[in-house]
């Protein structure tokens, strides 16, 4: 249950990036999270509602895009998404591989904001 720590980091990062847009309100925060990142979206959403209260992120939506785990197979020399994180094998030839190319990401991809009207 480290989702609250993660959400606090998200709130800090987003608040920091809002410095360039005074008075802006956050509508949506978009995340990219790898399937191997051990993040539970339900917990994230639950914590998000609490952690954003009283911040410029209050009331905004959290959109989580899950990225599949992609491994590289040196035998086939191709990248492929694995079906299950219980087995790190090339989806083409079945060879075991420890070369993980995607799946550990935990990233704030973008935010959608509503800017305050100048002089309004």
């Amino acid at each position: 249950m480290h989702e609250l720590s993660l959400v606090s980091s998200i709130v800090d990062s987003v608040t920091e990036s809002l410095a360039r847009y005074p008075g802006a309100r956050v509508i949506e925060v978009r995340l990219r999270v790898g399937a191997l990142a051990a993040v539970i979206e339900d917990s994230l959403q639950f914590c998000y509602g609490i952690a954003t209260e009283g911040t410029p992120l209050a009331g905004s939506a959290l959109v989580v895009k899950t990225l599949p785990v992609v491994v590289h197979c040196s035998r086939c020399n191709v990248d492929g998404a694995i079906e299950s994180v219980q087995s790190f094998r090339c989806p083409h030839c079945g060879e075991l591989t420890m070369d993980v190319r995607q799946g550990r990401e935990m990233e704030i991809e973008a935010i959608e904001i509503e800017e305050a009207e100048v002089g309004g």
Partner: protein, 223 residues
Amino acid sequence: MTTRIVELRRGILKKNDELAAGLRDRFTAANVLVLNLVSSPGTGKTAFLERTLRELLAQGSRAAALVGDLETDNDARRLAASGAPVRQINTHGICHLEAEMVGKHLDGWELAALDYLFIENVGNLVCPSSYDLGEKIRVALLSVTEGEDKPLKYPTLFNSADAAVITKMDIAEAVGFDREAALRNINEIRPGIRIFETSAKTGAGLAEWLGYLQEQGANHAGS
């Protein structure tokens, strides 16, 4: 009112990652090999580390440990009996160690005077996997009483480990430990990983483990 999409492309744990990178630079400059030990509560991390510290000190190596727990300094007191410098990190409810906590607890320690620094993480197989502590080697530990399918249940941690240690091998037979299944499962999640089958009680597997530490320390010095 106008809406706008602002691209951030920023790691959620950017702050921790930056602090960890700073620690890694310090560890490399001081030529100290740093290991992050991760397991469930009750695997026997402390007993394993206690034995490791004793053996290292006996062979003339300089080793120290940081030990993370939610509360109490029981583990630090246990480990300090080995004669090695030990510090306790109490996280007060946080389920994992973060780079900032490690950095704060290094104050006053001369890293260059150490060959090995062990960081015993909070007993948890989920959350510590996301937090880089600046270690060179992440060790996933698993005891023979925990079930051979633990690596399959916690792939994130086992996949990010550099070495795996099976503890309490002295009671493997009594608890019906299926060694082949355990090794197969670890290998399915982290193919080719070094696996050490150990007992802190009898000392089984310790020579191999100490050999690995020495080898990694030597690589470290060369890198």
